[in-house]
């Protein structure tokens, strides 16, 4: 018999015992709904955790520094052709072009003095890239993020803001003076000549190669407008110089040219280089040298290949990749157990299919005999009962997905009402991705066909007697 005839006859047979077949199909639907509900909860929680972690800036970022270390406290090495590559603008550009990298920006975090209403405060200032606007730290910001990448604006950490004024709402729009140290290059030594004594403030270890002679530090002031107050700070897990409590746009922070600690040991952050020596590999370049770059990836899964690519360039890296791997492993196990519990109801429903079809065989014994007398083969009869199980599985699967989606949607709604009452942002706790829809219907179909295996074989074995 042709497939469409089988399906047509099966559908027709199922319509004959509407109540019994509807109840069986409902059983399958409840089983699939339970499976979908359980798995969508696991997926939703996983995505929620991923989103929170990605927004935290901890798990989607790689710290890049020269092998000596970000602070430069590692063993000094003599200048040689094998000298590590410099972490300069060309390296930054190259890293930005690695597949999977969303952005690469320097970490600028500087101890400084702040004056507000003529009162001095000592704290740490950090430069933030425009992408930090999307970070979790900025979700509950009072006010707004920087209006431009180089705006003379500042965002304050909430505790620090309270030190300035207990009523933090009054701070917005008020001026803040930032006192900082700017380093200025002292130029280069002639080639082949080394200095005999210490420089005024810092000296390059490679000065005997005709490279920068050092830098001088000048006291500078900048007036910024306070535009926001935030409870937490981005990249909190990567802090090393102490907790930053004032945030300024990264472009502005770069213009301030703060002397990094590494600069005292390495070279001035901004240094002109002779054109003949400009390059990217182990050569001085025209532009800043970075102590540390923060490389953000588009997807957490890209962390490992990006890290490997950066390491191949000759830099050292650090990320919390292991922590995300453990997290993915945890959710894989959680999904597995939720899937098993969800499948239990479907297993019970499959017993309903077997029961319904065995009953149908008993009722339709004579009809099966007639079919065989008319020329139906064992395969035709088996196919007919298979098709009936399949139709129930397909319809039950589709109804179950709809039911599971409705349950998830309702719980999402309820959970968000609760979160709103707790003054917390809305979250998607239940998520039904398209693959789960297709997978659940296919799984329901397969389970139903397996359940139909025994009744179909039993029906096919009936003799062709009328």
């Amino acid at each position: 018999m042709k497939t469409y005839d089988l399906v047509e006859l099966a559908s027709r047979n199922l319509r004959e015992s509407v109540l019994r077949n509807s109840l069986t199909t409902l059983g399958i639907a409840v089983g699939v709904a339970s499976l979908v509900a359980m798995l969508s909860l696991g997926i939703g929680l996983q995505q929620l955790a991923n989103r929170r972690l990605e927004h935290s800036g901890l798990f989607d970022s790689v710290l890049v520094f020269t092998p000596r270390g970000p602070e430069g406290f590692g063993p000094r090495r003599a200048a040689s052709p094998a000298e590590p590559r410099r972490l300069d603008e060309s390296a930054r550009q190259e890293i930005s072009r690695i597949a999977g990298v969303a952005e690469a920006y320097p970490e600028i975090r500087v101890p400084t003095e702040v004056r507000y209403n003529d009162r001095p405060f000592r704290t740490v200032v950090e430069g933030l890239p425009p992408s930090a606007a999307e970070s979790a730290a900025m979700e509950g910001i009072q006010g707004h993020f920087f209006s431009k990448p180089d705006a003379a604006e500042a965002i304050l950490q909430a505790d620090f803001a309270k030190e300035l004024d207990p009523d933090t709402a009054r701070l917005r729009g008020r001026p803040l003076t930032l006192v900082y140290a700017e380093s200025v290059s002292l130029g280069n030594f002639p080639p082949g000549r080394s200095p005999t004594g210490p420089a005024a403030a810092g000296r390059s270890p490679r000065s005997d190669r005709g490279e920068p002679a050092g830098f001088s530090v000048l006291r500078k002031e900048a007036t910024l407008t306070i535009v926001g107050v935030t409870e937490s700070q981005p990249n909190a897990g990567f802090e090393r110089f102490g907790r930053a409590r004032i945030f300024v746009p990264l472009d502005l922070a770069e213009k301030m040219i703060p002397p990094q600690i590494s600069a005292l040991l390495d070279s001035p952050v901004r240094q002109p280089a002779p054109p003949a020596q400009a390059g990217s590999a182990g050569r001085p370049t025209d532009g800043p040298l970075y102590a540390t770059l923060i490389v953000r990836v588009a997807d957490v899964k890209n962390i490992e290949p990006v890290e490997n690519a950066i390491k191949r360039m000759g830099f050292s890296t650090f990320s919390l990749q292991d922590a995300t791997r453990n997290l993915r492993q945890f959710f894989a196990v959680l999904d597995l157990f939720l899937g098993i519990f969800g499948s239990l109801a479907l297993a019970v429903a499959s017993l309903g299919i077997i029961n319904t079809l065995v009953m149908a065989i008993l009722e339709r014994r004579r009809e099966i005999g007639i079919l065989k007398a008319l020329g139906a083969s064992d395969r035709d009869v088996k196919g007919l009962f298979f098709a009936e199980a399949g139709v129930m599985g397909l319809v039950g699967g589709a109804a179950g997905v709809a039911l599971g989606w409705a349950i998830g949607h309702t719980i999402n709604l309820g959970a968000n009402i609760y979160l709103q009452r707790q003054n917390l942002p809305s979250q998607t706790i239940w998520l039904v991705p398209w693959w789960l829809v297709v997978g659940a219907i296919a799984f329901s179909l397969v389970v139903s066909l397996l359940a139909g295996l025994y009744p179909a074989s039993r029906a096919a074995r009936l003799e062709s007697r009328c």
Binding site: M1, L9, L371, G375, R465
Partner: protein
């Protein structure tokens, strides 16, 4: 068998025995017979004589315990299940005393069943159904269910269903057993017309010799599973 007609069916010492506890029931016991193409043969005998069992062996609904049932050159005893199903689908049509229509299906759907099994295209089915119903004079009953038809009409539908795949042999098992005398005569007349008009070979099981005399060309008598006599109608 008529000498002029080519042989279409041949039973060679066919037996069908059933075990019932320690006893062996010999429903058909070493029966040998021949049926010519286009012939109308009546199988006669009292209840339990083995005529319906022999008909089931001819129709491929059952397999002989021993012997050969050769139809159109093929021994049904040696055919596999799939080949036997194909034989029932294409070569033979069967009608029964209790009509054996599927009660929840309409006349049209009942007639469509053998066509679906024979994988006849959907477009051709309607024409074949109408053609078969036309032969039994029930065109107007296409959408009716069996329960809405009289006994005679139901048997006509069963005949139409048996003919819808254009078989070469029509096997009728007491087709008038559930009908009143007048309707029974009408049904037998219809079967005779089919035999005469299309040359379809007919094997009719009945216990009414008078009816067999009226339409059959040959009468075969069975008793206790054995062929006891074969003669021309009176």
């Amino acid at each position: 068998m008529s000498d002029a007609a080519p042989r279409i069916l041949r039973a060679e010492r066919v037996s069908r025995h059933y075990a019932m506890g320690s006893a062996v029931i010999r429903a058909v016991d070493e029966v040998s017979l021949e049926v010519g193409a286009g012939e109308f043969v009546a199988l006669l005998g009292s209840s339990g004589s083995g005529k319906s069992t022999l008909l089931n062996l001819m129709g491929g609904l059952d397999r002989p315990t021993s012997g050969a049932m050769v139809v159109a050159g093929r021994d049904l005893a040696t055919l596999g299940a799939e080949e036997l199903a194909r034989y029932r689908r294409h070569s033979v049509g069967m009608i029964f005393q209790s009509f054996n229509l599927v009660p929840r299906m309409t006349v049209e759907e009942n007639l469509e069943l053998p066509l679906r099994l024979a994988e006849v295209e959907r477009g051709e089915r309607r024409a074949r159904v109408e053609e078969a119903l036309d032969r039994v004079g029930l065109q107007a009953r296409l959408r009716h269910r069996p329960s809405e038809l009289s006994g005679g009409e139901q048997q006509r539908v069963a005949i139409a269903r048996a003919l819808v795949n254009r078989p070469t042999i029509l096997l009728a098992d007491e087709p008038t057993g559930n009908l009143d005398s007048r309707t029974g005569t009408e049904i037998l007349t219809l079967i005779e017309e089919i035999n005469r008009a299309s040359g379809t070979t007919v094997v009719l099981v009945t216990h009414e010799e008078a009816r067999a005399d009226r339409i059959a060309k040959r009468k075969i008598f069975l008793a206790d599973g054995r062929l006891v006599e074969e003669r021309k109608p009176n």
